[in-house]
C-alpha cells in the first residue's frame, strides 16, 4: 500500500482547496501536517466523526465554506499501535471503578470508543448522572463497586483532575462485575447481578446486554 507519508511540518496544500482534518494545522493560509502518518483525503459527502469535527471547525474557523471542500487529514493508523486519544464530550468510554464515595464514584478510563488507551485518565460519575429516572433515589454504593467495568459517556471535560461521565441510558452501566466472594457475576435484572456460585444478588446500575 503506497500511501503518501506526511511528517510534521510537511506542506499538504492551500487551505482554499482542503479543509483541515485531524493531524493537520493551518499556517499562513496553507495546510501542514502536524503528526507523523499517512495522508488521507475524504470527499465532502463523507462526513467525519462528530467528535473530532467539532474541534476541527473551531481550528479551521471556516464552517461556512467547509461543506464543499474535501477534508485532508493525517492518520497514524498502521504506523503504530500506540495511538493516544483524549476522551471528548460525547465519547462512549469503558472504565474501571477505582473508588466509591457517597457523592461520587471515581473511575479510570481505559478505552475510548474503539481505542485502547496507554495512559489512564480519571473520571467521576456523580449520583445525578447514574440514572435517567428517579435521580434523587440513586445511591452510589447500590450502583457501582470498586473493580467493576463500566460503560459510560463523557458529558464534560470536568475539573482539573477528572472527566465527568454519565451512565443515564439503558445501554450504559456496569458490564462486568465481580462478587464479594471473588466470582464473575452475570446480570439478572436492570439493577442486579448474581453470583453463580453463592447465588447471592448484588445491586448495580446494569447496562442492557446487547
Amino acid at each position: 500500500m503506497a500511501q503518501t507519508i506526511a511528517i510534521p511540518g510537511q506542506l499538504l496544500g492551500p487551505s482554499s482547496k482542503y479543509v483541515a482534518g485531524p493531524g493537520t494545522h493551518i499556517h499562513e493560509a496553507n495546510l501542514y501536517s502536524s503528526v507523523l502518518g499517512t495522508v488521507t483525503i475524504a470527499q465532502p459527502e463523507k462526513k467525519i466523526a462528530p467528535g473530532p469535527a467539532k474541534r476541527l471547525t473551531k481550528i479551521a474557523g471556516l464552517p461556512s465554506s467547509s461543506a464543499q471542500l474535501p477534508t485532508i487529514s493525517v492518520s497514524r493508523t498502521g504506523i503504530s499501535e500506540k495511538r493516544e486519544v483524549l476522551p471528548e464530550v460525547g465519547n462512549v468510554v469503558l472504565c474501571r471503578v477505582t473508588r466509591i464515595q457517597p457523592r461520587q464514584a471515581t473511575v479510570a478510563i481505559l478505552v475510548v470508543g474503539d481505542t485502547v488507551l496507554e495512559a489512564e485518565w480519571q473520571g467521576v460519575i456523580r449520583p445525578q448522572d447514574v440514572r435517567a429516572t428517579e435521580k434523587d433515589k440513586v445511591k452510589i454504593y447500590e450502583s457501582f463497586r470498586p473493580g467493576d467495568i463500566v460503560r459510560a459517556q463523557v458529558i464534560s471535560l470536568g475539573d482539573q483532575a477528572s472527566y465527568y461521565l454519565a451512565t443515564a441510558s439503558n445501554d450504559l452501566g456496569v458490564i462486568m462485575a465481580t462478587s464479594e466472594a471473588g466470582n464473575v457475576m452475570y446480570p439478572v435484572s436492570w439493577k442486579e447481578y448474581r453470583d453463580p456460585e453463592t447465588g447471592l444478588n448484588e445491586n448495580r446500575k446494569v447496562a442492557k446486554p446487547f
Partner: protein, 349 residues
C-alpha cells in the same frame, strides 16, 4: 460464565479491562486443539532470545548492552582507585591469603559498587526525578549480594602494589607474564613480598533503556557481560608522588579474572484464580515473564546456576510470594535454568 457482552469486545480491549482472565483464557483455550500459549505468543517455558553487545561505551572500562525481548539494559563498569590508608580498619592481607581466606577484601572494603537505575523513563511508571523505587533498591541489593556470594571477581586483580624498585625492566617482564596463561601463579609471586597500597573499586552502573519484565535476569546478564569486558589499566603506587598512577598503553590493560559464569533464570507462577487458596486449582510456570505477566503473578522463583566446567552448580535460589512451588517444581526450575544458561552462554561468547 462471563457475560455475553464480553464476547463483543476486541482482544486488546479485553486485555486492558481484565488482564487476568485474558491471560487465563490464552493459557486455557476453550478449544482443546489449540496449544496453550501466553499472551506474548510464547510457550510457558519459552524464554526470549538474548542479544549481547559489549565494548560500546568509550568512557567505561567495560560495558555491555543486553537486549532480552523488549527489555534493554546498558551496563558500564568503571574502575576508580582507593588508597588503603583511606580504608577504615584496614588489615593487610597476609601473603598466604588466597581466594579461600577468611578475609573477604571485596566485601569488607566495599570494592564492588553495583547500582541499578530504573528511573530513566524506560516504562511509564518509571519516570526520572524521583528517588530509587523499592524495585530499584531491591535489584541493586540482589546484584550486590550475588556478586559477593558468587565471588565472581577475583580480588587479586583489584590490588595495586608499589612500583618495582628494581627497575622498569623487571616490572615490564612481570606485566607480560601476567597476560599469559599462568596468571595465578605469577600474581602470587608478585604479591608475596609487597604490601598492597591501593585497590580498584568497580562502579557497576546498570541503566534500563526499555523495560518489559524480568529486570533481575537482564540486569545480571548485563553486569556479567560488562565485567567480562572490563579491562583495567595497569596501575602502580608511585612512592615519590604518593599516588596511584596508571600506564597509558592499552597493551598493559588486563581483563578481570572472573570465576565462572553464573546465569540467573526467573519464572513467575500464574494461578487460575486471582486469590488462590493453598494447593488447589491449576497453575502455570511462566519462564522469563514480561511486564503484563509480572503484574498478574504473586509468586516468583529465581535460580542462579553456573555450568562452566561441565557440572551444574547452583549459586542461589530465591523464591517469594505464593505457595505453589515445592521441591518437585524447584527441580524443574533448575533444569529450565540450565537451558537458559546455554542460551546466555551462547550470546555472551
Amino acid at each position: 460464565m462471563t457475560t455475553p457482552k464480553s464476547l463483543t469486545l476486541s482482544s486488546t480491549t479485553f486485555a486492558k479491562l481484565s488482564p487476568h482472565p485474558y491471560l487465563l483464557a490464552n493459557l486455557q483455550p476453550a478449544d482443546p486443539s489449540t496449544t496453550p500459549t501466553r499472551t506474548n505468543g510464547r510457550q510457558p517455558a519459552q524464554t526470549r532470545t538474548p542479544y549481547i553487545n559489549t565494548s560500546s561505551l568509550s568512557h567505561a572500562h567495560g560495558s555491555a548492552v543486553v537486549r532480552n525481548g523488549d527489555t534493554t539494559v546498558i551496563c558500564g563498569v568503571r574502575g576508580e582507585t582507593i588508597l588503603t590508608s583511606a580504608i577504615p580498619n584496614y588489615r593487610a592481607p597476609s601473603p598466604a591469603d588466597g581466594s579461600g581466606s577468611s578475609l573477604d577484601e571485596a566485601r569488607d572494603y566495599d570494592l564492588l559498587v553495583p547500582n541499578i537505575e530504573l528511573a530513566t523513563g524506560c516504562a511509564p511508571n518509571f519516570l526520572p526525578g524521583v528517588p530509587p523505587t523499592t524495585l530499584a533498591q531491591t535489584l541493586s541489593t540482589r546484584v550486590y549480594s550475588l556478586l559477593h556470594s558468587s565471588k565472581l571477581v577475583d580480588v587479586s586483580r583489584l590490588r595495586i602494589y608499589p612500583e618495582e624498585v628494581g627497575g622498569e625492566k623487571n616490572k615490564e617482564d612481570n606485566d607480560e607474564k601476567m597476560n599469559e596463561a599462568d596468571e595465578e601463579v605469577d600474581e602470587y609471586a608478585v604479591a608475596g613480598d609487597k604490601a598492597v597500597k591501593a585497590y580498584w573499586v568497580l562502579y557497576i552502573d546498570v541503566l534500563f533503556i526499555s523495560f518489559d519484565g524480568n529486570p533481575f535476569d537482564t540486569a545480571w546478564a548485563a553486569t556479567l557481560a560488562a565485567l567480562r569486558d572490563t579491562k583495567l589499566p595497569l596501575a602502580y603506587w608511585d612512592a615519590d608522588r604518593e599516588m596511584v598512577l596508571c600506564k597509558r598503553s592499552q597493551q598493559n590493560a588486563t581483563p578481570l579474572n572472573l570465576r565462572g559464569l553464573p546465569v540467573a533464570c526467573t519464572a513467575s507462577v500464574f494461578t487460575a484464580k486471582e486469590k488462590q487458596k493453598k494447593g488447589s486449582g491449576s497453575y502455570w510456570v511462566l519462564v522469563d515473564p514480561d511486564r503484563l505477566e509480572e503484574g498478574l503473578c504473586d509468586e516468583t522463583v529465581t535460580v542462579v546456576v553456573d555450568k562452566l566446567g561441565g557440572s551444574t552448580k547452583i549459586l542461589g535460589i530465591s523464591k517469594h510470594g505464593g505457595t505453589v512451588v515445592g521441591p518437585e517444581l524447584m527441580k524443574k526450575m533448575v533444569a529450565t535454568a540450565e537451558s537458559r544458561w546455554d542460551q546466555i552462554h551462547a550470546a555472551i561468547e
